[in-house]
C-alpha cells in the first residue's frame, strides 16, 4: 500500500511552484500545461505521460462550461496530449444532465466511458457504475480524501464514484458589518442583544431583518440582510434542508432524517421540518428585491457583490467575494450553519431544549465522477479520472473559482494555501476551520441518495415554494409533500428504497456497513 499524502496543500503548492525544490527525478517540464510543476503521485503528469493510449477513444459527459465542464475539457486535452488517446467531451446543461446519462444506461448503450454528475444521483446510477479498482483506491490522491467524501463516493461498502470535488453548505457573512461599532450599538439598542454571528436560524433572521433596507456599508446602495437560493427548481431544496436540519436532526436519534428507515414513513412534515420552513418563509422579509426568485447565480452575485450581509450555500459566493477584483475582498467570514436550541425528538414526540445550539452540518451534494460499467475502456477511464484529480491539477483547479472544484482532501484545509492566494489570515482561518469542523461533526445530514431522488426533491421544492409564496401554510405544504413522497415510495418500492436509504443513514449515524460505529 502506498504511503498516504501527509503534506499540506500549501507545501504541495510550494513544491509545484518550485519553492521547496521539485524532485530531481522530474526531467520533463510540464509547465506548458498551465501548472507550475508536476507533483509526484500515482497519476502525476509523469506517470500518465508514460502510458500510451494511441488509437483508443475515451468519451466523457460532463456539465456545461465553466463549472466542472471547463476543468473536464482542460484535463481531457492534457490527457490526450500525454497519452495519445482521442478524448471526446460532451457538455450538457445541468437540467439535462441526468436524463442524458440515464437514458443510455436504461437502454444498455455504451454512450460514455466517464461521467461527471451530481453526487446525489448515486442512488439512481449505482447499478450502472464500475467500482473503483484497488489500484486507484490506493493512489496517493485517494488516500488524502476526507472520510466524509469517501463516504459520499461509497455505495454498499464499495467506492463507485471517483472523488474530485467536495461540497457543503456553510454560513458566509460580512465581517465589516459585524465589527462596525456604530452598527453594533444600534443593533443592541434595537434588539437588546449583542451583535454576533448567528448561532441559530432565529438569530439569523433577526440580524438579517435588522440589516435590511439601509446602506450599512456606505457604498451608496441599499443593503439587505440575506441572500438565499429561493427559486423553485433552482437548488432551493438544498437551502431548505440547510435551514430545517438543526430542528429535525436530533443528535440522539438515529435511523433516518428524511424517512424512518424501519417503516419508510416520510418525516418531512414532522415539526422540525415545519419549523425550518416557517423560518424560511419569515426570512423573506430580509431578502433583497426579487430575492424570492434568486437562483444560485443570483445568490452568488448578491453576497459576492456586496449587496447582502449573510448568505449560506456552496463555496461559490465566498470565493466570488474573495476574487482579486472584489470590493469586499477580505471583508467576509465563514462560519458553521446556524443551529437550533429546540430540536424535534421523533422518538419521544417532543421538542428537546439545548443550551448549546444543535448543529447539523449539511454535506450537500456536489460534483462527482464515475466510470460506466458498460465502458470498454475502463482502465483508460480511471486513469483519466485519477489524472483529473492528481495533486498538481487539484491544486491548480482549487484556485479558479469558476471551475467549481472545492476542498475535499485533508490537505486542502490549510490556511497557508489560501493566504498564498491573497486571503488575509483571519478570512482563510475562518474558511478552513469551518470546513474542517464539518468533517469532524457526528450530526451531519446528507442528501436523500436513493432511486428517484429527483422526484422526492422536486416534490419537496414545490411544497416549499407554495409555502414561500403564501399559497399554503408550512404544515399544509409539507403534509402535501409527505403524501407525494408516500406515493413515490409505493411506485419505486419500499424495500428497494429502504436498502438504498440505509446507505445514507449509515453516513448520518456514523456507522459501518455491519452497523458498528
Amino acid at each position: 500500500m502506498r504511503k498516504p499524502l501527509t503534506g499540506s496543500l500549501s507545501a504541495l503548492a510550494l513544491a509545484s511552484s518550485g519553492i521547496l525544490g521539485a524532485p530531481a527525478v522530474h526531467a520533463e517540464d510540464y509547465s506548458r500545461f498551465g501548472i507550475s510543476a508536476d507533483i509526484p503521485g500515482t497519476c502525476s503528469y509523469e506517470a500518465i505521460d508514460a502510458k500510451d493510449y494511441s488509437g483508443r477513444t475515451l468519451n466523457i459527459i460532463t456539465h456545461a462550461i465553466p463549472v466542472i465542464g471547463e476543468p473536464t475539457a482542460l484535463h481531457a486535452e492534457q490527457f490526450a496530449e500525454l497519452t495519445g488517446a482521442e478524448v471526446n467531451v460532451v457538455h450538457v446543461p445541468f437540467g439535462d444532465l441526468f436524463q442524458r446519462i440515464m437514458i443510455p444506461f436504461q437502454s444498455g448503450q455504451n454512450a460514455y466511458d466517464v461521467l461527471f454528475y451530481g453526487s446525489l444521483w448515486i442512488g439512481d446510477f449505482n447499478r450502472f457504475l464500475e467500482p473503483v479498482p484497488e489500484t486507484y483506491l490506493n493512489s496517493t490522491g485517494m488516500a488524502d480524501v476526507t472520510d466524509s467524501f469517501r463516504g459520499v463516493a461509497t455505495w454498499n461498502g464499495q467506492m463507485i464514484q471517483y472523488p474530485m470535488d467536495g461540497d457543503r453548505h456553510y454560513l458566509k457573512y460580512r465581517t465589516d458589518a459585524f465589527e462596525n461599532d456604530a452598527l453594533r450599538v444600534r443593533f443592541q439598542a434595537e434588539t437588546g442583544r449583542e451583535l454576533a454571528v448567528p448561532a441559530t436560524w432565529e438569530e439569523y433572521n433577526e440580524i438579517a431583518r435588522f440589516f435590511s433596507g439601509f446602506d450599512w456599508d456606505g457604498d451608496g446602495e441599499i443593503n439587505y440582510g440575506s441572500a438565499e437560493v429561493a427559486k423553485r427548481d433552482d437548488l432551493m431544496f438544498s437551502a431548505f434542508i440547510s435551514r430545517a436540519a438543526p430542528y429535525a436532526k436530533h443528535p440522539d436519534v438515529t435511523g433516518g432524517f428524511f424517512f424512518d428507515l424501519e417503516t419508510m414513513e416520510p418525516l418531512i412534515n414532522t415539526p422540525g421540518f415545519v419549523r425550518g420552513l416557517e423560518l424560511f418563509v419569515e426570512a423573506q422579509e430580509a431578502f433583497p428585491p426579487g430575492g424570492t426568485n434568486f437562483g444560485l447565480g443570483d445568490e452568488i452575485f448578491s453576497f459576492g457583490g456586496g449587496q447582502t450581509l449573510m448568505s449560506y450555500s456552496w463555496d461559490d459566493a465566498f470565493v466570488q467575494a474573495q476574487q482579486e477584483d472584489s470590493r469586499i475582498r477580505n471583508m467576509v467570514g465563514a462560519a458553521p450553519l446556524p443551529g437550533a436550541r429546540e430540536v424535534w425528538n421523533r422518538d419521544t414526540g417532543q421538542w428537546d431544549r439545548f443550551d448549546e445550539p444543535n448543529r447539523a452540518p449539511y454535506m450537500t451534494w456536489g460534483w462527482s465522477s464515475a466510470v460506466s460499467a458498460l465502458s470498454e475502456e475502463k482502465e483508460m477511464a480511471f486513469d483519466y479520472l485519477c489524472f483529473f484529480a492528481n495533486e498538481a491539477n487539484t491544486s491548480h483547479d482549487l484556485q479558479i473559482g469558476r471551475f467549481g472544484v472545492n476542498p475535499y482532501r485533508n490537505s486542502h484545509f490549510d490556511s497557508a494555501f489560501w493566504q498564498s492566494l491573497g486571503w488575509e489570515a483571519q478570512v482563510a482561518d475562518s474558511y478552513v476551520n469551518t470546513l474542517s469542523q464539518m468533517e469532524q461533526s457526528d450530526n451531519r445530514v446528507y442528501d436523500l441518495r436513493v432511486p428517484g431522488v429527483g422526484q422526492f426533491m422536486s416534490s419537496m421544492a414545490n411544497g416549499v415554494a407554495e409555502a414561500m409564496a403564501g399559497q399554503k401554510s408550512a404544515q399544509d405544504a409539507l403534509d402535501g409533500v409527505a403524501d407525494e413522497w408516500r406515493a413515490i415510495v409505493d411506485r419505486i418500492g419500499k424495500d428497494r428504497l429502504r436498502d438504498a436509504y440505509a446507505n445514507v443513514v449509515r453516513l448520518e449515524d456514523n456507522t459501518h456497513q455491519d452497523g458498528s460505529p
Binding site: 437540467g95 439535462d96 441526468f98 436524463q99 440515464m102 436504461q106 437502454s107 439512481d124 427559486k231 423553485r232 427548481d233 433552482d234 433583497p288 428585491p289 426579487g290 430575492g291 424570492t292 426568485n293 449587496q307 432511486p451 428517484g452 429527483g454 422526484q455 422536486s458 414545490n462 415554494a465 407554495e466 414561500m468 409564496a469 403564501g470 399559497q471 411506485r491 419505486i492 418500492g493 428497494r496
Partner: protein
C-alpha cells in the same frame, strides 16, 4: 389500383410515419407503462397513469392557469397586432422600415429574449423598475409576486408574438378588395363605421386563423416560463408544458409524463376545435 405514380408518394408517407405517426404511437404505448427512473421499459400497467392524471390537481390547476394566460395574452396580441397592421396598412412613408422593425421580436429566440426580459425585470438591478421610479412609481415585484410573475410572462408573450398577428393581419388587409370601401365612402361612412362594417367582417376569416394558430402556440408555452419564473412563485406561473417537462425530464417519470402529454394533446384538440367553431359562429355567423 396501385400505379407506379403512387410510389412517388412513398418518401413523403415514410417521412410522415417516422416523424409524426411513430412518435405519437410510441408515446401512447409508453403512457400505459410504468417507465420510471428505476423501471425502464415497456411493461403494461393498464390505465393506472391516466387515473393518476385525473387525480393530479397540480396538472388541472396548471391547465386552468394556462387558459387564463392564453386568453389574456392572445387577446392583447390580436388587438395590438390589428392596430399596428391598420397603422402600417395605408401608410406609405417609412412603411417598409416599420414592417421590419415590428417583426424583430418574432425573429428572436424565445429563450434568449426571456433571459433579456428576466434581466430587465430584475427587481433591484433591472431597468424596468428604474424607469418606473423616474415617474415616482414604487418598485414592482415583477418576478417575486404571483401577480407580477403572471403579468411578466404575459408581457413577454405579447411582446414576442404580437408581430406574428401583425404579419398575418397585414397580409389580410393588403388582400382586401377595394369595392366595399368605395361603396362605404359613397354611402358617407366615416372611418369608425367603415372599420366595424367593412374591414372587421372582411378580416374575420383571417382573424380566426390567426387567433387559432396563436392559441395553439400559446398552449405550448414552456421556454418563457422556464427561463423567467421556473413556474413560480409557488406554482403561480406553472403551465402544463412546464409541468410535463418537470415530471418527464426532471423526475424521469417517463410513463406518467407520456400519459400527461396524451391527455393534454386530446384536451387541446377538443378545446381548440370548440373555440374555432365558436369564433366562426361569432365572427362569421356560420359553422364552417
Amino acid at each position: 389500383m396501385l400505379q407506379p405514380k403512387h410510389f412517388f408518394l412513398l418518401p413523403a408517407l415514410l417521412t410522415l410515419l417516422a416523424i409524426i405517426i411513430f412518435p405519437l404511437l410510441f408515446t401512447v404505448r409508453v403512457s400505459f407503462s410504468s417507465w420510471d427512473v428505476y423501471q425502464a421499459g415497456l411493461d403494461y400497467i393498464g390505465a393506472r397513469n391516466y387515473l393518476r392524471v385525473f387525480q393530479d390537481t397540480r396538472f388541472w390547476e396548471s391547465l386552468l392557469r394556462l387558459s387564463v394566460m392564453s386568453a389574456i395574452s392572445v387577446s392583447l396580441q390580436y388587438t395590438l397586432g390589428f392596430a399596428l397592421a391598420l397603422a402600417v396598412w395605408k401608410q406609405t412613408k417609412g412603411g417598409r422600415l416599420f414592417r421590419v422593425l415590428f417583426l424583430v421580436p418574432m425573429m428572436t429566440t424565445p429563450v434568449v429574449m426571456s433571459v433579456i426580459w428576466r434581466t430587465m425585470f430584475h427587481e433591484s438591478l433591472g431597468p424596468v423598475n428604474d424607469l418606473l421610479s423616474v415617474f415616482g412609481i414604487a418598485p414592482v415585484p415583477w418576478l417575486s409576486s404571483a401577480a407580477g410573475a403572471f403579468a411578466s410572462v404575459i408581457i413577454v408573450e405579447v411582446w414576442q408574438w404580437t408581430p406574428f398577428m401583425f404579419l398575418l393581419l397585414l397580409a389580410g388587409l393588403v388582400s382586401l378588395p377595394r369595392e366595399p370601401y368605395l361603396a362605404a365612402a359613397i354611402d358617407g361612412a366615416g372611418p369608425w363605421r367603415t372599420f366595424w362594417q367593412v374591414t372587421f367582417p372582411l378580416m374575420a376569416p383571417i382573424s380566426i386563423g390567426a387567433l387559432v394558430i396563436r392559441l395553439i402556440e400559446a398552449s405550448k408555452i414552456m421556454d418563457t416560463v422556464y427561463v423567467l419564473t421556473s413556474g413560480g412563485p409557488g406554482t403561480a406561473t406553472e403551465t402544463p408544458s412546464y409541468y410535463i417537462y418537470i415530471r418527464g425530464l426532471r423526475d424521469f417519470q417517463v410513463g406518467y409524463s407520456a400519459a400527461l402529454s396524451i391527455t393534454y394533446l386530446v384536451l387541446m384538440i377538443v378545446s381548440l376545435t370548440i373555440i374555432s367553431k365558436l369564433l366562426m359562429r361569432f365572427l362569421i355567423g356560420k359553422d364552417s
